[in-house]
């Protein structure tokens, strides 16, 4: 995967508005393969951790019903321009995607 995640963080007053897009198939495990009739195994991001300058601000557990190529938006109060935001994700197969940006 060329680019796993896109993140953008913009400052509005003292609140950083963080938006991220992750590249992931988010397969639910409920769909059948049209040709073989077999269930396609579940493959989805189930844990997300976001940090601001190394401090955890958001931890999420996800089910398979988050849309394909997940979008996640959240806001952090007290952030300043130049602060570093990192998002780490792990899927149910243990594959990791992460991304980072600075607040602008």
């Amino acid at each position: 995967m060329a680019e796993g995640m896109k993140i953008r963080a913009t400052l509005q007053g003292d609140v950083a508005d963080v938006k991220s897009l992750m590249n992931h198939i988010m397969e639910t495990g409920l769909r059948k393969d049209a040709k073989t009739g077999k269930l396609i195994p579940a493959h989805f991001i189930n844990q997300v951790v976001a940090t601001l300058n190394g401090k955890t601000v958001l931890e999420a557990q996800w089910g398979a019903a988050i849309s394909k190529n997940p979008f996640l938006g959240f806001k952090i109060k007290g952030a300043k321009a130049g602060d570093k935001i990192v998002i780490n994700t792990v899927d149910n197969n243990g594959e990791k995607i992460s991304g980072e940006t600075t607040v602008a």
Partner: protein
């Protein structure tokens, strides 16, 4: 990573939320916060069971929890949902869709200045209520909004 979780735990511990979480059966002693995916809750097939498994059974309805979602979603695979909350001291936000095979979609834990707001896109199997549950000060509050999902995608 582990170090991070540890400091995170310490902080929330200071605020007393961990004790509450343990009391609610959310965290088993010795288990690091969010280290284990809450399989029982995510695999529950009814909203009631899922809510029990994340420790928010008996949440009270509140107008301070707001769900922004379309009234009609033409494509159930991508339904934008935004949750904001006016209650002070929100520690977590959860999203449920009653009629999905597994109603619990997401469980967000907030800390260190994260605003009580999350925005994401979800999949919906059919027309259903979308339910947002918020935990604040050891209590749970919820709001629900019906989203109609158009099958066939013709907009009819």
């Amino acid at each position: 990573m582990n170090q991070l979780r540890r400091t995170f735990l310490k902080r929330t511990g200071a605020a007393g939320t961990v004790a509450v979480a343990i009391a609610a059966g959310l965290l088993k002693p010795g288990q690091v916060l969010a280290a284990e995916w809450n399989k029982a809750a995510f695999e529950a097939t009814t909203t009631d069971n899922a809510m029990k498994n994340v420790g928010v059974a008996g949440a009270t309805e509140s107008k301070d929890v707001q769900i922004k979602a379309p009234d009609i979603a033409e494509n159930g695979a991508v339904v934008p949902v935004e949750i904001t909350c006016k209650i002070a001291g929100v520690t977590s936000i959860m999203i449920f869709v009653d009629k999905n095979q597994n109603p619990l979609l997401a469980d967000f834990t907030l800390a260190n200045g994260a605003e009580p707001y999350v925005s994401t896109r979800i999949k919906m199997a059919s027309t259903s209520h979308v339910r947002a549950v918020v935990k604040a000060g050891g209590k749970a509050y919820f709001a629900a909004k019906e989203v109609k999902v158009t099958i066939g995608g013709c907009g009819g």
